[in-house]
């Protein structure tokens, strides 16, 4: 049985279609991430799940109930907001109790819940403070506490970490994940941060222009992006897109090969994967998609590697590894190499391209070539 089912949801403001028919389904206990650039409609979708914005077309089911036209309070949800939205005139305890009081939970029961939640989030010492007296991280915890206290069937998170500084964000990210694993809650989580999406989600819906571009587990989306947008959005630094010429090599087993050029070297690289779609591009240009970590220094040869001497243009050490920018087929290409590997600006550097995981895109439609 699904925990949340969204059927062909549309949102229309005047003449503008903000959401163009969204379909989604998640199981109880799943952690769904809605990710995309700003303006993609992810927050609108979340607000519609919450019942804060009316639905133009389509249906939303929570469990087996059609909640499309229900008030937020009747949907059995709780929400954590970007600005935390703690009631400034109430103490932390009153903030957590507010929703319980409205639902007429018994006082003794309320007390138990507050105790349990505050212990879980380690905010026991803050219960009598006002939100103003709390730090950003503490507010974040209280906001989560308020949601947890309600014990809803679905939790909604609207970019809850974006107001925190970098270190705290990583910390809270871990805590949210831990909480999810321990309590087995169902979560819908909106973010524009692809790292949050990758680290937290069981399933990710990548959105753009009011449509879901791809829906699936994080690794699946990372390894098999359906188009160039998803490939560039997920992963940092972004996937490299190298335009190149494809050719057919005749032989017993006809295969494809592409031409790569850097410095004054030109190599033809055979594509050994079984890529049927690529054959249609014989004699034409195609976009090669290769992630930075698939281009490394020599010495880590894999069966399906190609070697290319590249002119180094920029070196950026990050600590665990070093990002080296070279130019392949005229476009800047970022490679992730081991920090001890020798590299110098304006010098040639032999690099290995792991061709086993590369993907190809159509230069016109930017869709994946399968």
């Amino acid at each position: 049985m699904h925990a949340l089912k969204i059927q062909n949801i549309e949102k229309i403001y005047g003449k503008v279609k903000v959401l163009k028919g969204i379909d989604l389904e998640i199981q109880p206990g799943q952690f769904l991430i809605l990710v995309g650039p700003s303006g993609c409609g992810k927050s609108t979708l979340l607000n519609m799940i919450a019942g804060l914005e009316p639905v133009s077309n389509g249906n939303i089911f929570i469990g087996d109930r059609d909640v499309t036209h229900l008030d937020p309070k009747d949907r059995d949800i709780a929400m954590v907001f970007q600005s935390y939205a703690l009631y400034p005139n109430m103490t932390v305890r009153q903030n957590i109790e507010f929703g319980l009081t409205i639902r007429k939970t018994e006082k003794s029961e309320q007390k138990k819940i507050v105790e349990k939640v505050s212990k879980l989030l380690q905010i026991e010492s803050l219960l009598d403070r006002k939100p103003k007296q709390l730090s950003g991280g503490q507010r974040q915890r209280v906001a989560m506490g308020r949601a947890l206290a309600r014990d809803p069937s679905i939790f909604l998170f609207d970019e809850p970490l974006s107001n925190l500084d970098a270190k705290l964000r990583v910390e809270m990210r871990g805590e949210i994940k831990e909480l999810h694993q321990r309590e087995g809650t169902t979560i819908v989580y909106v973010t524009h941060d692809q790292i949050e999406a990758m680290t937290l989600g069981d399933v990710i819906a990548v959105m753009k222009d009011g449509e879901i571009q791809q829906f699936g587990p994080p690794q699946e989306i990372y390894d098999n992006p359906r188009n160039q947008f998803i490939a560039s959005f997920m992963g940092s630094p972004s996937m490299n897109f190298i335009p190149c010429q494809a050719e057919k090599v005749d032989g017993d087993m006809p295969t494809m090969q592409i031409t790569l050029e850097s410095g004054n070297e030109k190599v033809k690289v055979p594509i050994k994967q079984n890529i049927k779609g690529l054959e249609a591009y014989a004699g034409k240009s195609v976009i090669l998609g290769i992630r930075p970590e698939q281009i490394t220094q020599q010495g880590e040869e894999k069966p399906d590697s190609a070697m290319l001497n590249c002119d180094v243009e920029l070196i950026e050490p990050t600590g665990p590894d070093t990002l080296v920018t070279v130019r392949i087929n005229g476009v800047k290409t970022v490679c992730r190499i081991h920090p001890t590997a020798e590299s110098k600006v304006d010098k040639l550097m032999p690099l290995l391209l792991d061709m086993s995981k590369v993907v190809f895109f159509d230069p016109d439609t930017q869709e994946r070539v399968y």
């Binding site: 109930r65 059609d66 909640v67 499309t68 036209h69 229900l70 008030d71 009747d74």
Partner: protein
């Protein structure tokens, strides 16, 4: 299955509208309806009692042929221009001086602004006493030894309107000061620091950077002062009563006199329509900027 929730939902959506409905009705009737009614009156031949007939531009023709109206219009122009310019200049300078980390700033600010809390009737009464030629400032200066000093503007047909300017400025310049001071405090410190690093002197910084940055403040102050000027009625009633004769009449007093004491309702409404026109020519750019700002928020 969700049929039961539908009526409650619609009530929930209706409630906010129900709450503002009374205000909406009131605005439609008492602001817009009345403006239309008034416009209609101005095209009727109403005198003592309102008549709702069509007399074309009769009342406007009468109005434009009336010397007293032109005196009133000229007075409003003189008063308006002087009142606004002096208030803006005084307000700005007082604000700049007050912005120099002055001790007792709060007390001084309080003193500059208290006249704004007074009724124009009180202000008028006070200045009427201060400016009266027998016992007022004239007597004070003469007692100080300047025997031939004359200051009889209040009863001088040509000069009386300037006494209205004096009292008006006294009452309202502190308000402009408060606006400008708030504006000055809003200037980004880093910009001033940057200008200092570039070697600019304080007067130059004020002239080239800070004062140009106060443009929106001047704009608001200008709008509000213009509004006060066009509506000014009580101050003139209390200070000069429109006199001597009708030397200090302004459109607001003209409208009042003709509508309520002379039984010329049609003429009075035509005069008020002219006042409305004057205000509209000022509000339209204001509303325009207001709405544009609102669009930028999205």
């Amino acid at each position: 299955m969700n049929k039961s929730s539908t009526p409650r939902q619609s009530l929930g959506e209706l409630l906010p509208k129900l709450v503002v409905a009374p205000t909406f009705v009131v605005a439609v009737i008492f602001i817009y309806g009345f403006m239309l009614m008034n416009a209609w009156l101005s095209f009727s031949s109403s005198r003592m009692l309102p008549k709702y007939n069509w007399a074309g531009f009769l009342q406007y023709e009468k109005l434009f042929a009336n010397d007293r109206w032109w005196v009133a219009a000229e007075n409003l122009f003189i008063f308006g221009v002087l009142f606004i310019v002096i208030c803006l200049v005084l307000g700005l300078f007082m604000a700049i001086f007050l912005d120099q980390k002055i001790r007792a700033e709060g007390a001084i600010r309080t003193i500059y602004l208290y006249p704004m809390a007074l009724s124009f009737i009180v202000t008028g009464t006070a200045w009427k006493w201060i400016l009266n030629p027998e016992l007022g400032i004239q007597r004070l200066v003469r007692e100080m030894g300047f025997e031939s000093f004359t200051f009889d503007w209040l009863v001088n047909t040509d000069m009386a309107i300037y006494t209205v300017v004096i009292a008006g400025v006294w009452q309202s310049s502190g308000f402009v000061m408060a606006l400008c001071l708030a504006g000055l405090r809003g200037v980004d410190d880093n910009i001033i620091k940057a200008a200092k690093v570039d070697g600019a002197s304080m007067p130059l910084i004020y002239r080239k950077i800070i004062i140009p940055g106060l443009r929106p403040v001047f704009f608001s102050a200008f709008i509000i002062l213009t509004h006060i000027a066009i509506k000014s009625f009580d101050l003139i009633i209390a200070l000069t009563g429109g006199g001597p004769g009708f030397a200090t009449d302004v459109p607001a007093t003209f409208m009042y006199t003709f509508s309520f004491t002379r039984g010329q309702i049609g003429l009075g409404s035509a005069a008020s329509m002219m006042m409305l026109m004057a205000v509209i020519t000022i509000i339209v750019p204001y509303l325009y900027s207001e709405l544009r700002e609102k669009n930028n928020e999205h």
